[in-house]
Subunit: 153 residues, 2 copies
């Protein structure tokens, strides 16, 4: 039984561990201990912003997945809001059991509940399996995602 | 001489005109008059959020370009912020004169000033010229952008 809830500061070590384990996106992350105080500062910024939600998927009291939801106001499409999903991670030993689809489905429901006309996300071109996964769930791979690094990465 | 500034409510008709003129992204937008009150509500949401900036490029008192900047907190990369650029539009009669590169350069500087480690944007796969433009400016086309529409579009 998996439940979803907003993360608390006490979840940070488990979340950062999931981020750091990811070979593509987590190579500058370090789960500690000790945990870099920058993570607590970032969490405070997320937690204090009603348009940002850091989510954990929990099973048996253990964090087995995480993602961030951002609700973005904009003028396009007659002032419609967008829901953005970022930093989706699932524990290695929990994959292949449908948790990803369940998490994304839950995230999309949160976007609907906030009145978003669209949900969006980007996925690294090296994540071919993830791309097929999103397409199976009905997402359209209609855009290219560009990144410009402003510091060494 | 082009200057950039945060938009005011008085700029909304000019901005929405730029959005509506775009064949790919603006087909549900209507510049009026009258201007749909939903645009004013969206502007209020942007204007009231310190992490959202609606920008206009102005020349001779006329709005000739627009874009939205979103500053996003996150845990990834040791709690680094991202700058996101969305809804970049330039008036048809102002294209091909370097305004786009100037606008994006200005936007990137705003991201640096906010301490972002990365700037990001997505661009529709039908905008091939824009993709080449961003690559010329040094952006990496490293991701795929997925969209899921939650209402008829």
């Amino acid at each position: 039984m998996v439940t979803y809830r907003d993360a608390t500061a006490a979840d940070l070590p488990a979340i950062v561990l999931l981020l750091a384990e990811d070979q593509i996106g987590g190579r500058r992350d370090d789960p500690g201990p000790p945990l870099d105080s920058a993570y607590a500062a970032a969490f405070a910024a997320i937690d204090g912003d009603p348009n940002q939600r850091l989510i954990v998927a929990v099973s048996g009291g253990t964090v087995i997945g995480t993602m961030q939801l951002s609700f973005l106001p904009g003028l396009l499409n007659r002032g419609a809001w967008r829901g953005q999903i970022e930093a989706v991670r699932i524990a290695a030993d929990q994959r292949g059991q449908g948790l990803g689809a369940d998490m994304i489905g839950w995230a999309v429901e949160q976007c609907r509940a906030r009145g978003c006309f669209m949900a969006q996300l980007t996925s690294n071109n090296d994540r071919g399996a993830a791309h097929r996964f999103y397409e199976r769930l009905g997402w359209q791979k209609s855009h290219a995602g560009f990144k410009l690094y402003l510091e060494a990465y």
